[in-house]
């Protein structure tokens, strides 16, 4: 605990730097909230697989930023959609990069989503009390796939057109709701300018809004319930190290993961020594 005494000058400097942050914290509590979010307790044996969720979030943020930039140059009408994409790709400075990030980032987003889902499944992280978060994740997955479907039409080339004809007709084949779904997606009986405008609106307003809202709920639940231990840990198997020096204590196997900010520290019941 030998802490070096700071010089007066240094203390002044620190106070000066921290003053705006203290000002913000005193009036909003935001600094504390961010700290609470970032510096949570996580299981000691959490590993790289646990980063797949935040990787997916990062991929989504990349899509969000590049999509906003593309929307400044893209023109969603049948006359100029294709040529505006050509302009973005060939004429604008770094347009090819932004479009490429959005185009390939879409695949990265979906792949990461599935990897994240696989991690959650294999780690058993969907179990009580986290079932609701799994359900939110399933809705997020379908929304992400819908983003892929609606975004595919926007280049308005032959591939986009015919792939969307087939995709809409697949939707139109759903029992009972199919005929309504098909007309809703096309905005009429035939694919045309209305379809393009409709898909553009869905792609950049409706579905991203849903995604942002549900991601917020998803993160809230992660913070509230904490992170699951990997299945190979003693904690996941129901063991808990206790302070009395007699070694690990086994809890009931169906006992829930402790709730709250962090995942260790629930009291031990039904002591069974292995």
């Amino acid at each position: 605990m030998a802490r070096q005494r700071k010089s007066k000058r240094r203390q002044q400097l620190e106070a000066m730097v921290l003053a705006p942050i203290d000002w913000l914290e005193e009036r909003s509590g935001l600094v504390g909230a961010v700290k609470y979010f970032l510096f949570r307790r996580v299981p000691a044996e959490s590993n790289w697989f646990h980063t797949l969720g935040s990787a997916t979030l990062t991929a989504f943020l990349v899509q969000l930023v590049t999509g906003v930039i593309l929307a400044m140059y893209y023109k969603p009408d049948p006359e100029s959609a294709y040529s505006s994409i050509q302009t973005i790709t060939n004429d604008l400075t770094l347009g090819w990069l932004v479009r490429g990030m959005h185009r390939w980032g879409a695949s990265v987003f979906i792949i990461l989503l599935f990897l994240h889902m696989g991690r959650v499944f294999l780690f058993g992280a969907y179990k009580y009390p986290r079932e609701l978060n799994w359900l939110v994740g399933v809705i997020l997955l379908t929304l992400a796939l819908a983003e892929g479907l609606t975004g595919y039409l926007l280049p308005w080339d032959q591939t986009a057109y015919w792939a969307t004809v087939v995709a809409i007709n697949i939707n139109a084949n759903a029992p009972i709701v199919g005929p309504f779904l098909g007309d809703f997606l096309r905005g009429g009986a035939e694919i045309g300018g209305d379809t393009l405008a409709r898909f553009y609106s869905l792609h950049m307003l409706v579905i991203p809004g849903g995604l942002i809202g549900l991601i917020t709920l998803h993160l809230y639940l992660v913070i509230r319930l904490g992170v699951t231990e990997p299945p190979w840990t003693r904690a996941a198997a129901g063991y808990e190290f206790v302070e009395d020096g007699r070694g690990p204590v086994r809890r009931g196997l169906v006992e829930p993961r402790p709730r709250g900010n962090g995942s260790i520290g629930t009291p031990v019941r039904d002591e069974v020594r292995p």
Binding site: Y128, V166, A172, N173, D183, A189, G265, P267
Partner: protein, 316 residues
């Protein structure tokens, strides 16, 4: 629960700490099996479908009973006596005249007015969004030019704009036309749409396309190509194949190719509304066409599967 969060060190209250998990059950598997059997049965055999439906009902009931056991056990038989007395007490308390404080009234009226405003704003907007699914879709007539361009018993592949309001080639469509001559004093034409009945890709004619003949009509430029030695139509997307009457011969399509109504006005061939076809028996002018209202590609118009695509009865 909140207490547990705030004071993690303390012993949790016993019933609160129990995980709210349904007991392990096998019924969902049997339920899923029933659903699968029901769906397969709808295609193959009604008896299988009936057995599947029975399985779904029985195991669905068992599953729900299993899953709700914990909830339904709440009024346990142990607490019968005190429950009665408590009820009595509650009833006595309710004997007093009910009171509606002003705060409750204001709360309710604020929420109510908020919901009303929200509804007034949201409902028309949502209706506007989904309207295309519920209204009649109109098809304009397309003028294909003088009848003389369609020689008797020859196939002509015609390319035209179905809707001139759409810019570019968005509404470009193709039809395969054969003039069957006059049957019973009425001109007979076979006019088959090239939209594949599987997923809507453009089918191609299996024949020799002659030099295009461009005709200017009221519906813009129409391109006519005489097609010799036609032997059916095939689709490039998923391999659907049709014979000369549009009947499916191979691949995934579920019905025959769509056709167009037609009329002859001032010597010109004019396309009318498109319609869907279950199948065609016979050929040319003597063909018997099972016509249905136009359906999207891939939707069944006949057979048992048509129950999945009920017609929109409010549209004439």
């Amino acid at each position: 629960m909140a207490d547990e969060l705030e004071r993690p060190g303390e012993e949790p209250v016993e019933p609160e700490a129990e995980p709210h998990l349904p007991s392990p059950t096998i019924w969902p598997f049997a339920f899923a099996g029933g659903v699968a059997l029901l769906l397969v049965g709808l295609i193959i055999n009604w008896i299988l479908a009936a057995i599947g439906a029975v399985l779904v009902l029985v195991f669905g009931f068992l599953w729900i009973r299993e899953a709700t056991r914990e909830i339904r056990r709440v009024p346990a038989p142990v607490s019968t006596e005190p429950a009665v007395s408590e009820l009595a007490v509650v009833e006595e308390e309710e004997e007093e005249p009910e009171r509606y404080p002003r705060s409750v009234f204001l709360e309710m009226s604020t929420l109510g007015v908020g919901a009303l405003i929200g509804g007034i704003v949201t409902v028309p907007a949502l209706g506007f969004m989904i309207a295309p699914a519920f209204v009649d879709q109109e098809y304009g007539e397309v003028d294909l030019g003088p009848l003389a361009n369609f020689p008797q018993n020859e196939w002509v592949t015609a390319t035209f704009q179905s809707n001139r309001a759409e810019p570019g080639n968005v509404s470009k469509r193709t039809a395969f036309i054969r003039n069957n001559g006059v049957a019973d004093g009425v001109p007979s034409m076979t006019i088959i749409s090239n939209r594949c009945a599987h997923m809507g890709c453009p089918t191609q004619p299996g024949g020799l396309l002659q030099k295009p003949n461009e005709v200017q009509t009221d519906s813009g430029t129409v391109t006519l190509r005489v097609t010799q030695g036609l032997s059916g139509f095939t689709c490039p997307c998923h391999g659907g194949a049709y014979d000369n009457e549009g009947n499916r011969t191979a691949g995934p399509p579920v019905r025959a190719l769509d056709r167009y109504e037609f009329l002859i006005r001032e010597g010109n061939l004019v396309l009318g509304k498109p319609y869907s076809v279950g199948k065609v028996i016979g050929e040319g002018a003597k063909a018997k066409i099972e016509a249905y209202r136009l359906a999207d590609p891939g939707q069944h118009v006949d057979g048992p599967e048509k129950v999945f695509y009920p017609p929109k009865f409010w549209i004439p």
